[in-house]
């Protein structure tokens, strides 16, 4: 079945399958009794993979600039959508098991707890990005406006890392790693968008 696929199609399939692997393994571990606290385990892991995939999607532009190759752009949409998928799973698990499907307590806790507010903000910011992830949307919005909108991915990542950081009791090594990665990505972005030396313009 693979021989008829184009190389990029196949590469996308590889990314798709691999991005799904953690979800399968989280489910396997949670249902298989690998952790004493399967709900907590699934919550932490889905949250972590939402952040990992969001950061991977943010790596695409720097990689393109660095290598001068457009190749990685093929995967940006899929990585972003997978980040959204894991973030939705994360919220769903919290809502079903921790909040016991109680909508009012979900809203109450969200407004009361800073870290949940940050997490919810991170997820909500992904919604318009997921909706406008199609090529048709780029055309409809126009490339410039679409690009501006999709800078929200950075804000979402900041909110997501803040959410993780504040939720940790004491050992902040892991959220720190995410914060460092995000800072590096920001630095790349700033570096590549620095004002280019102007070409000499013929006097008017």
């Amino acid at each position: 079945m693979f021989e008829t696929m184009k190389d990029t199609q196949f590469a996308k399939l590889v990314v798709f399958i691999n991005a799904s692997v953690p979800a399968a393994m989280i489910a396997w571990d949670a249902f298989g009794g690998a952790s004493a606290d399967p709900v907590g385990y699934a919550l932490q892991r889905t949250g972590k993979f939402a952040l990992i995939l969001l950061l991977l999607s943010l790596c695409v532009t720097p990689l393109r600039k660095l290598t001068g190759k457009n190749y990685f752009s093929h995967f940006r949409k899929m990585l972003g959508l997978f980040a959204f998928f894991y973030a939705c799973l994360h919220l769903l698990i919290y809502f079903v098991f921790d909040r016991q499907l109680n909508v009012s307590s979900l809203i109450e806790e969200t407004l009361k707890r800073k870290f949940i507010l940050f997490g919810m903000a991170a997820l909500l910011m992904m919604v318009p990005l997921a909706i406008t992830s199609t090529n048709a949307s780029i055309k409809r919005l126009g490339a410039a406006r679409w690009k501006t909108l999709h800078k929200l991915a950075y804000l979402s990542a900041i909110a997501g890392v803040a959410h993780y950081w504040i939720s940790v009791k004491k050992d902040i090594r892991q959220p720190l790693l995410f914060a460092i990665a995000l800072t590096i990505l920001f630095a790349c972005r700033l570096y590549y968008s620095r004002p280019q030396p102007k070409r000499p313009v013929a006097a008017a």
Binding site: E3, P22, A34, S35, A36, R113
Partner: protein
């Protein structure tokens, strides 16, 4: 001179279909290898430690060079704390631990603590008392008959267990040293030894871990000096060889691997209070109405299944409520 061209039997000639499918095989191989790599990376970074379904290994193989674990009898105050909720499995109790001296990862403490040697062990009890004494572990185990008491354990992180502890009321030990009337508080200290408690090499908390109780809390019959659980010596990951259990307080008050107990006149410093004064108070009574600044304490996740409402004083309000009569529990969290 004429070399024979070896004849290839026709059955060994590659089938044209297979030849054309080389691309399919390569791609299938790439896909399989990438999935294996991703799965392997997941296991390497997020490996959940398998919990043995049966007894914890560490507990039964604890070095007991001198003296055996004394027999455990029913509790003399059984009706004070009888609870009908199912007990948490030994596997969960021994593989889901907050014991930062070994690891900040609850699933890893068991492995990190497996080689923790707790004999010989002494515990010094002193300060404001007539008979300061340094006890050998075996003396502590023989000091009073061991009782099994099934307590709820509520962690400040909003999860809980039901644990059958073995030990006796802390008051029995404290009475031996004859506290003076000037003793108003009891201060506890965990072992400080980074060679045996490897994570003490990281300054994630101020070591050694210290805790404290008010004198009336320490003398309350529910307050327990525990030396075992499920009728066997305390597993290292749960605070071997001796730990404090105060069932109406959050779990972090239950200091583990105690080496020193001191009777003092002033409220002693406590580790989590020092680490986060606005989040962890000296009292740390389980209270569903007073939230942790970052999360709700109204409900808890019972390890082994189910979300449940958190009870005032963890369900021990009838026994300990009077200790806090007239106190503002929101201010004294």
């Amino acid at each position: 001179m004429d070399e024979k061209i070896p004849k290839i039997p026709s059955r060994e000639i590659t089938e044209p279909e297979a030849y054309l499918n080389r691309r399919t095989f390569m791609r299938a191989g790439i896909l399989a290898a990438s999935v294996a790599a991703t799965g392997g990376a997941y296991r390497a970074f997020f490996s959940p430690k398998r919990r043995p379904v049966t007894a914890a290994k560490g507990a039964s193989t604890l070095p007991t060079s001198r003296g055996a674990f004394p027999p455990v009898g029913p509790s003399s105050i059984a009706d004070m704390h009888a609870i009908s909720e199912p007990q948490t499995s030994l596997g969960d109790i021994t593989h889901y631990n907050n014991f930062y001296e070994f690891s900040t990862d609850k699933a890893e403490v068991a492995d990190e603590a497996a080689a923790f040697i707790t004999r010989p062990w002494t515990i010094s009890v002193g300060g404001l008392c007539s008979k300061p004494t340094t006890f050998d572990l075996d003396d502590v185990l023989q000091l009073a008959p061991l009782e099994q008491r099934v307590y709820r354990m509520r962690c400040v992180e909003a999860w809980s267990m039901v644990i059958p502890w073995d030990g006796y009321s802390l008051s029995k030990l404290l009475e031996r040293v004859q506290p003076l009337s000037s003793a108003k508080y009891v201060a506890f200290t965990t072992l400080l030894d980074p060679t045996r408690m490897p994570n003490q090499g990281r300054r994630v908390l101020d070591w050694p871990y210290v805790e404290g109780l008010r004198m009336d809390e320490a003398m309350h019959p529910l307050t327990m000096l525990a030396c075992g659980l499920y009728g066997q010596p305390m597993p290292p990951q749960d605070g071997a060889p001796l730990r404090l259990v105060v069932p109406w307080k959050y779990g972090f008050k239950g200091i583990k691997s105690i080496v020193k107990i001191e009777l003092v006149s002033e409220q002693p410093p406590t580790t989590w209070n020092l680490a986060g004064p606005n989040e962890y108070g000296f009292y740390a009574n389980v209270n569903p109405a007073v939230d942790h600044p970052r999360w709700s304490q109204a409900s808890e996740r019972r390890i082994g299944g189910g979300q449940r409402k958190t009870l005032m004083f963890n369900g021990y309000a009838d026994q300990v409520g009077r200790l806090y009569a007239g106190m503002d529990l929101t201010a004294n969290y």
